[in-house]
Symmetry: D2
């Protein structure tokens, strides 16, 4: 009997890119608030999801250093299970509820890509860096303190897709004042057989379910963000027309389930 | 209207990991014939596919340097569309027809991964190298000539999964005497919503359809192949118990369609 | 006038792999104490450096996540200036003084390689990972606490060169009880012109000078370490015959100078 | 007795990044003729080397896919010894002789970096791709034939440094009509000890000696080349003001020696 949550299936399930949940995550995050062209944002949304009229085109660009573990001691195998990610979250509504929608996301690890696709995150490979906070004091330590500066970058196939900088000003006591929307995604898997190339067998609107979500050590500050045009990509269409605050924090949660909000194939 | 064959969908379809076929491929290939434990091979086969009783456990391990182009000048953007791959092909039968089945495959490019998943190739990321033949004469040129030596290697997350060497002896005029089986795969996409975690929405046996298949400049020779045990992988279960001949050749084809042989979800 | 500390020199000095000191560093470190074959260790030492007779063949294998900054805001450009490293330190003496000598070191960044060569660190490229401590609580967080488990790995050209695991037991108040030796290196640059191929123009014994050295948050615990034999490498000759304790800590210092202990070309 | 041409020295010399010559090379190459700002080119030249007054600011930008072998069967270990490179060659003169001078060069392999530094090539790490010619016929094959299109790209730390395209028009029978200058370089190794930070121990003008140089299958065509400005780099200062022809060819040679033209430390 073959085992595994994703391909490749194998007798013991070790070869699978990812095993069944629970999936546990902890991360360091840098997020930049910005506003983009509303028409460009709206074009990215799936049926039934509309731009949040109260947000005026607000989005957040995130950089994340992730550590993952499942139930097989993955935490001690960082070569396979530690990874970096960058994504955009667009403020939208679904059935009147404020949500974030993720149109673009990049990651440097194939297990994360497989887990992401199964949830609805449209992951591609990218190279992601963010300045880290180190405990040992130094001009190189980037402590969580007023004045500390952080940089973030995303590159795809050797082209710079996004560059950000944040300078901390103040600690924010209640993270829910900044981050308080659930995330919806489009879970999508195509059909290559010719008669079905326009009818994907999987095309759903999904809602991320995050157990034990924690956001810690949240700091705010000033920010810069650029999303240049790159040949063969379209993310620059939602480049900043205005940049807001920058944030630096830790985030953790576990995943065991997914909610399907809508089946577009029905 | 959002465009794209795979995620991420975008207004112009440029961001998609891969666009609609036709997909055109040309490659340099090194393949090593070997025999593995028959029980271990049989365990990898999906329902209805059985080990070819006439093959006695024969498989081929391939290394491929690929160049891809679609309809958007991808050939001149090698940073995104040139890639390397390694896989195993197991000799099996389906409905009495001799086929190859692909249980493990590794690639260094996300567009190739997305195209592969849509066909049924269970691709993971890997780092693949093979000795190339260069035109300019040198001890470093590896010409297609008797005595020339080639090496191949596959690494996954910094661990060596396969190492091969081939030394050429003779040109083979008719490639069909060596490579003559169609390839079948298991197209599989899981469900994360808890109630469906054991019922994948996509689970099919598929048949690769290759237009204008050409195999050129086929040489045979002696071969070595090792597939060591690596933590968190199972490919060593089908490591060689005996190694046969090695082959070096070019291969090209186009993909526009896929045949679905069996729907395991029905 | 061309500028730059290392090649390539350029009019403004921006292209140089590294500029003039000061160089500021902060890191997270995992180090494993072990004992190796004394003859194998002794063979690696340069003239005048002898194995510390009181150490009985003791060495440490380190994994380091580094952040670097110079005087040009490098801290906000982590794609270029954040990097990972692994090395061996062998307990030796020079002129009767206890020192560490570094025979093997691997890094994933070219600026770090250029700085290292200029000091005497014989750096090669490698891929290095270590489990990180994250602030947000999770099974994936690896806190600095009794029972926490960390892994480390070094790969070179897709082959695993070292794998380590540490499980924390206790905080160590005084880091000098564990780490208290200065580091000596062999600064070496060869001559390719035929008449001088056996007479390197630079061949010196050097002493690392570290300003403002700090070691913080030092924890000890149990450890595992393997250094397998890899084709084309010799580090396995100093593989563990016995493994001692494992350590997890932060370290920072600045570099502005280097002491030359001995000129072997004289 | 420690062995090895470069660091790290080891008892058997296997760990060394590179062993003593002979070094044998074969490559596929794409080169674009262009003209840059003469003042910007002249600023890069070392003492005694002057811009060739008859060249009017001509330079060539090269992309190279290399295969290397020494005397230890390196050809069958492509994971370590196959690599890609990109560089600029500026037309200059030294003592009245027409030469090429190499101010910038990027490579994706540490052994190539070590060999390069020992010759005087100021190598940094980069990611290099060029379209390849494959034998199996396909829209993806890029044959050596009129109309075939090739692309090349160089990225450094995730930023695109150069992008080129060539479309072939005609075969060139005599390569010496295009490529006929020897290459001179600046061999340079710095001193970190404070008193000597402005007095590098190695600072020489060198001449590349290439045994058995062969250029084969040379085709010419039309070309495009862009060298954008990238933060922390200066290569854009010699970006094209005009682009000439593009070339595609194979090249091989061996290295056993180096000629030192001038010692700048004297």
């Amino acid at each position: 009997m073959l085992q595994g949550f994703s391909v490749p299936l194998s007798p013991e399930g070790k070869s699978s890119l990812t095993n069944l949940p629970p999936w546990h995550y902890s991360s360091d995050c840098m997020a930049i608030e910005y506003w983009a062209d509303k028409q460009a944002l709206a074009e990215l949304l799936p049926p039934g999801v509309i731009l949040d009229p109260s947000s005026d085109g607000r989005a957040f660009f995130w950089f994340l250093d992730w550590q993952f573990t499942g139930s097989n001691d993955e935490i001690t195998d960082p070569a396979r299970y530690q990874y970096r990610e960058a994504f955009v979250m667009v403020e939208a509504t679904f059935d009147g509820t404020p949500v974030n929608y993720c149109p673009y996301i990049f990651v440097d690890n194939d297990a994360a890509m497989a887990r992401g696709w199964s949830q609805g995150y449209p992951k591609k490979l990218g190279t992601v860096f963010q300045t880290r906070t180190f405990a040992a004091p130094s001009a190189a330590a980037a402590p969580l303190a007023p004045g500390s500066r952080f940089g973030g970058s995303l590159s795809v196939h050797g082209e710079r897709m996004a560059t950000a900088r944040v300078q901390l000003t103040d600690k924010i006591e209640d993270p829910r004042t900044v981050f308080n929307r659930p995330t919806v995604m489009r879970r999508y898997f195509p059909q290559l057989a010719k008669a079905g190339q326009s009818r994907p067998p999987v095309d759903e609107l999904t809602l991320s379910l995050t157990d034990d979500l924690a956001i810690v050590d949240l700091w705010g500050g000033s920010a810069e963000l650029t999303i240049p045009e790159v040949f063969g990509e379209e993310m620059h269409r939602i480049a900043p027309v205005r940049v807001g605050r920058g944030f630096r924090f830790g985030m953790s949660y576990s995943v065991t389930d997914l909610k399907i909000l809508k089946d577009y194939t029905a």
